[in-house]
Amino acid sequence: MVQNGNKILESDRDIASQVINRSNVNFNSCYHCRCCAGGCPFVKAMDYAPHAIIRLLQLGFYEKALKSSTIWICVGCNTCSSVCPMSIDMSAIMDALRQIALEHNIKVGQPSILGFHTEVLNSIERYGRTHKLEIMMRYKVRTMDLFSDMDLGIKMLTKRKLDLMPSKVKDIQAIKNIFKSDQD
């Protein structure tokens, strides 16, 4: 149940435990040395620095964390976790937050990035492998951004960096079963 304000779900405690269960990380051990933010190559593009996302969780501002751009900008490069004195797996926390946000239909902070992930997964479901040219084209249509990177696309095609035809898995049923088992 989505509400206004900072309290979004029927049970806030439930969100905290969901993050901990899914990520297998106890975010309460973070003492905000900010090493993660110092090392993060993408911090300038985030609305909250990585440690600030943890602070939001510690203080119970779940909606802010789930709606943030940070959870989508984070690419999971593990630079932050490598310097964390408490060995907090930030990438796992971000994975958990993204998935909780999607399951609770929270407004996505960076819809274009979700759009990209969705196209990648669609491609894997169709072929068992990623077909980059089709992912790019479908992504462009999805975001109605047809013309940016056109010159780059042509350059990549002429350098044969983008295959016209997908490389496919033979036992595509096995791939479908993996996607299906997820919905069970």
Binding site: S81, D89, Q110, F116, I124, T130, T143, S167, I175, F179
Partner: protein
């Protein structure tokens, strides 16, 4: 007497199979030159890449695990893509630690789980080999001149050395590119961007975030006076090429390409023409091709 090649299962992954074919081919040829036959994993599928674990962990584990179940029991499984190997290793770790997950996948793939499967990165076979001695034993005269004598390079690992905390005790062989290439005569140029993440998939959806990051890396690369960047990651290679907007960047080579050249492999046709930043003038000037 010719020694028989050691057989290893090989997981190319989507990048090496498509956008970085030159990485794939040079890797296979290089491995053969040092006595390993890479046998492509039959009917392998995408490891799930960054997207699967980002939005759907269950599918991510399912995709990576199918490859683990496809791997023959009698040989290790090798991958060269840092992202693929991380997904494969992490999934193997999770299945090994979770009986319910193991049962579920054994049922799904109708095969027993191979707890002892050795999943190795390309670096691991390099770590235990002395290439200069090896080249000499193959009849080359190393006293004359080491093959990479004239080249100054910047090692670029991107984020491949960083691992999630649960996997930080698995060796990452940091410094291996420097160690191997300098043993072949190349000069290492030190810099502060060797482990800077390239931005990976944000290159598609948020290029305006990635371009300044790549330009920062390339500006320091150019200022360092090195001839080229050497990377062991196909994703880093792609971003260095497609998201760099500064003029006159230095070329980025795949580690496997420069290793192949050092081994005297001559059939490099088709590798360098696939690069967007052409390394051919530099390689010719250095006498490597």
């Amino acid at each position: 007497m010719k020694k028989e090649l050691v057989k290893i299962s090989y997981f190319p992954g989507c990048s090496l199979a498509t956008s970085a074919k030159e990485n794939n081919i040079s890797l296979i040829k290089f491995c053969k030159s040092i006595g390993y036959e890479l046998i492509e994993l039959e009917d392998w599928n995408c490891c799930g890449s960054s997207s699967a674990h980002s939005i759907d962990s269950k599918t991510a584990f399912g995709l990576a695990s199918r490859n683990l179940f496809l791997a023959p029991f009698d040989r290790p499984l090798l991958a060269a893509c840092p992202s693929c190997i991380l997904r494969l290793l992490q999934t193997h770790l999770h299945i090994s630690q979770n009986v319910d997950l193991q049962n579920e996948y054994e049922k799904m793939f109708s095969k027993p789980f191979n707890r002892d499967l050795k999943i190795i990165h390309f670096f691991e076979i390099l770590a235990n080999i002395n290439l200069p001695d090896f080249i000499e034993s193959q009849g080359h005269n190393k006293k004359e001149k080491l093959p990479l004598d004239c080249i100054k390079f910047l090692p670029y690992y991107g984020c491949m050395l960083a691992r999630p905390p649960e996997m930080k005790n698995i060796p990452n062989y940091h410094g291996l590119i420097e160690k191997i290439l300098s043993s072949l005569g190349a000069e290492v140029v030190r810099w502060s961007y060797s482990s800077r993440c390239c931005g990976t998939f944000l290159s598609v959806s948020r290029p305006e975030i990635v371009t300044p990051i790549i330009n920062d890396i390339m500006l320091q690369a150019v200022a360092s006076g090195a001839d080229c960047i050497v990377t062991a990651c196909a994703m880093c290679h792609l971003n260095m090429e497609i998201r760099c907007s500064i003029k006159n960047p230095i070329p980025t080579l795949h580690f496997s390409e420069i290793l192949s050249l050092a081994m005297g492999i001559k059939d490099y046709k088709g590798w360098f023409e696939r690069h967007i930043v052409d390394p051919v003038p530099m390689l010719k000037q250095k006498g490597l091709i």
